[in-house]
């Protein structure tokens, strides 16, 4: 079955806010960082909980380990740009699915957009320091080179295994200002191969 895909130029937090417009219950924001997502949610409907590997959050979670939370502990679980930082990405995905009761929303970056490919050609890097081999271990970094066809296949394979249906994919078009709007039009018109201008895919899954 073909998965519905929409193309947006809004930022990822607004995208998730829109997806969860009518949602009610509890939400766990995994890898919450500065809790930016909370500002896009209706606190009257959704009780927001933040989680991260560092302190200062409602939950302290290390995604490299089994999560010490009961099955289906939260109605909604959101992990935006988190899994690519985790060595045990498969286990982490299934742990997030285990603690989600209704819906799991996962965002993954596409590191092989056209602009990143050009940057790699000219400069030998991917417009981020997240892959750098520095003189000392950086600690947090991207542990996976997430590219469009592979992140799609990863979620499409592992969602059903975790008893989740992939309902839709929101593709966030990269670029700035007017270029992003132009890219949006190009993608919607199907003028370029899939994934060339998609900076991030946000996968919306619901429990069967």
């Amino acid at each position: 079955m073909k998965i519905p895909r929409t193309y947006v130029i809004r930022n990822k937090y607004r995208v998730v806010g829109d997806i969860l417009l009518d949602a009610e219950g509890s939400l766990l924001d995994v890898g919450a960082r500065d809790c930016r997502l909370a500002a896009e949610l209706d606190p009257e409907r959704l009780k927001y909980y933040s989680a991260d590997v560092s302190g200062g959050h409602d939950c302290r979670l290390d995604l490299e380990q089994k999560l010490g939370l009961p099955d289906q502990a939260f109605d909604y679980v959101v992990a935006l740009d988190v899994l690519e930082h985790v060595e045990h990405i498969h286990q982490a995905f299934h742990e997030l699915a285990r603690i989600a009761r209704r819906s799991l929303i996962v965002g993954l970056p596409n590191m092989a957009t056209l602009s990143r490919r050009w940057l790699f050609l000219w400069h030998g890097h991917l417009d981020t320091q997240k892959y750098d081999l520095g003189l000392e271990h950086p600690g947090d970094r991207h542990r996976w080179l997430t590219v469009y066809p592979q992140i799609n296949a990863f979620v499409e394979a592992n969602g059903p295994r975790a008893s989740f249906n992939l309902e839709r994919v929101v593709e966030q078009i990269e670029g700035r200002y007017v270029f992003r709007a132009m890219a949006h039009l190009v993608v919607r018109a199907g003028l370029l191969p899939a994934g060339w201008l998609t900076g991030r895919c946000i996968y919306v899954m619901t429990r069967r």
Binding site: E87, A112, R117, F120, G124, L133, H137, F154
Partner: protein, 195 residues
């Protein structure tokens, strides 16, 4: 220096006059042994069994400092999350020489491949199932040179660099003949560290 010799040939050539024990870390099929003279005591090491030594390089190596005359780690470190610790460990246990090679994932042929396909190679794949062994670092020429030199000098070693031009694809074969900087031509970089 530019070379079209293989990493095994270079190591074999550079240890030709040496005696003692050589440990081949991440030995896989022990191919290096074929390039060594019989005066060296060859020991293979890998994470899997059926080797002389079974070491997990993600952990500290449980042998004393300077335990082996020569230590060789060819295209191994980029597979490790704790690449810094592993490099310091192989530096620590080498008495005379350490050979380390790393792939240059930012050579021009791979840059062009990534431009064309969005795929840097199977060692970076995110597959539906966890594949275990893989490249955990996108090792670029400038960064691997800085990384190797910095820690070798801190350990009191001197470094000789070999920019190995030989690759595995026809485009690379052509590109490696162009008058370009080593960062674009070298497919593999081999470092000989003498303590």
């Amino acid at each position: 220096m530019f070379t079209r010799m293989s990493k095994y040939q270079i190591v074999g050539q550079q240890v030709a006059g040496l005696t003692g024990t050589l440990v081949d870390v991440g030995a896989r099929d022990r191919i290096l042994e074929e390039y060594l003279h019989s005066g060296l005591n060859y020991l293979s090491s890998d994470i899997v069994p059926d080797h002389d030594l079974q070491w997990d390089l993600e952990e500290p190596i449980n042998v004393p400092d300077n335990a082996y005359d020569i230590v060789v780690a060819l295209d191994v470190l980029e597979h490790l999350e704790h690449i810094h610790q592993a490099y310091l460990e192989v530096l620590r246990i080498a008495r005379q020489k350490l050979f380390v090679s790393l792939p240059n994932m930012t050579c021009l042929s791979l840059r062009l491949q990534f431009l064309r396909t969005g795929h840097l190679g199977g060692k970076y794949d995110l597959l539906p199932e966890y594949q275990g062994d893989r490249h955990r670092w996108v090792t670029s020429y400038l960064q691997i040179c800085a990384f190797i030199h910095y820690h070798a000098r801190a350990a009191g070693g001197t470094v000789v660099r070999y920019d190995i031009l030989t690759g595995y694809s026809r485009p690379h074969e052509l590109i490696s003949r162009l008058p370009l900087p080593a960062a674009l031509r070298a497919y593999t970089v081999l470092f000989e560290i003498t303590k």
